[in-house]
Amino acid sequence: MSKETPLWEVFVRPRNGLSHKHCGSLHAADEVMALQAARDTYTRRGEGLSIWVVPSKSIFASDPDQTAENFDPSVDKVYRHPTFYDIPDEVGHM
């Protein structure tokens, strides 16, 4: 079997005003072919106006085994949310 063709992650902006969103991956020899393949694979029905392709090997992910130590500390800090603070009704909307 021949060499493996590199893997790319595909991000599509559905319309202007929204950010690019990850929608899948594909194999392509280079960025030119990756963009063409992404158009044919992920935007056959008007799903997007702009495409990013990123080599999958350039993505570094957080470790799922460290999910708790990474993200739990933010759960118990209710004082980071506006509703934690009491503002008298007379003050009106703030």
Binding site: K3, T5, L26, D30, T41
Partner: protein, 333 residues
């Protein structure tokens, strides 16, 4: 188009009781499992197998219809068929990507398809001798696929569920264009209507087989249901499909080739449903084991495509390397 449940999957797993219980608890809380999450080896292997089979089915599923693109009777039908076959290719790619998140390469999966190690849906090993088959495949085969794929949108494995959502959105067009094609034939000449009936006579039973063996004979179903890879049993989905399809056949003025089919008001907890005749499981297993009418042709076509495409893949990689080298050189100057 669709996977045929799990034929010959190995769900064996060797983790500790605690690990398995913790994993099951996540599943029971309806948490999605994502690529790098810890998961039992049996869960991973089951998914690699199922998603791979599903992807292969999409790719091989392009062949019976691809045949008819150049012979479509009008530009409207040709455009629809072309778009449908292109969708099947796309569906195969979404699914291969989902399987690759589990640590299997595209090349490995392709190799397994070409060597016959990996299966694909038995339905694609039947020939498509008439134009009416393009209608029947859309209506029955894609209809059965949709029935199977909708619950897969809630599969516990995130990437598979997301791929299925995209597939299901696109698949509805496939079924509708097929049914519309059959309506045209049924409103046409006597010969056209006969062609439609003949096509249904050939595809009805193979479509019912797409749901896989009866629950009692489906050895891997129970574990897959527990892991929420599967949400409904083979027989439940088959029943839903029959109940939804018979009125559609009646609208066409066509019949299905089952003399034992009859309405049973007691079925489905009193809501009513159809009793059906016995499925020929010998035929099913023959086809799964490679002895269907088209098994050899299908694999031959895939091998030819893979081998003929080799120089293109190599050239694309060589070109990419050359461009990258030129860029590095320019940067150095």
């Amino acid at each position: 188009m669709y996977s045929q449940g799990l034929i010959g999957a190995d769900g064996a797993t060797e983790e500790t009781e605690e690990f398995l219980a913790a994993f099951q608890a996540r599943i029971d809380r309806e948490e999605k499992i994502e690529p790098n999450d810890p998961m039992p080896e049996g869960y991973r292997k089951t998914l690699v197998r199922q998603i791979g089979q599903h992807a292969h089915s999409e790719i091989v599923g392009m062949l019976p219809e691809g045949n008819w693109i150049t012979r479509a009777p009008s530009l409207r039908r040709k455009a629809a068929l072309l778009a449908k076959v292109q969708d099947e290719g796309g569906h195969g790619l979404y699914l291969y990507s989902a399987a690759e998140t589990l640590g299997v390469t595209r090349e490995q999966m392709t190799e397994e398809l070409l060597s016959g190690k990996a299966k694909y849906s038995s339905i694609f090993n039947y020939p498509t001798p008439t134009w009416a088959d393009m209608g029947t495949i859309g209506w029955l085969v894609d209809g059965a696929a949709i029935m199977n794929q909708i619950p897969l949108c809630r599969c516990s494995y995130g990437p598979y569920a997301r791929a299925m959502i995209r597939v299901c959105k696109e698949e509805s067009f496939h079924q509708r264009q097929g049914y519309e094609l059959l309506i045209s034939l049924c409103n046409g000449t006597k010969e056209q209507k006969e062609m439609a009936q003949d096509s249904i006579n050939r595809w009805w039973w193979p479509s019912l087989m797409m749901f896989g063996p009866h629950d009692a004979e489906s050895s891997h179903s129970e574990q897959s249901m527990k892991w929420k890879i599967k949400r409904f049993s083979n027989d439940e989905l088959r029943q839903k499909f029959i109940d939804a399809t018979i009125p559609q056949a009646e609208y066409l003025g066509l019949t299905v080739p089952d003399p034992d089919l009859k309405w049973n008001p007691e079925k489905n907890n009193g809501k009513g449903g159809y009793d059906h005749g016995e499925i020929n499981w010998d035929e099913f297993w023959q086809v799964v084991k490679g002895h269907g009418q088209m098994n050899r042709d299908r694999i031959k076509a895939r091998k030819k495509a893979w081998n003929d495409g080799e120089w293109v893949r190599d050239a694309a990689l060589a070109h990419a390397e050359k461009r990258a080298a030129r860029k590095t050189q320019q940067a150095a100057e």
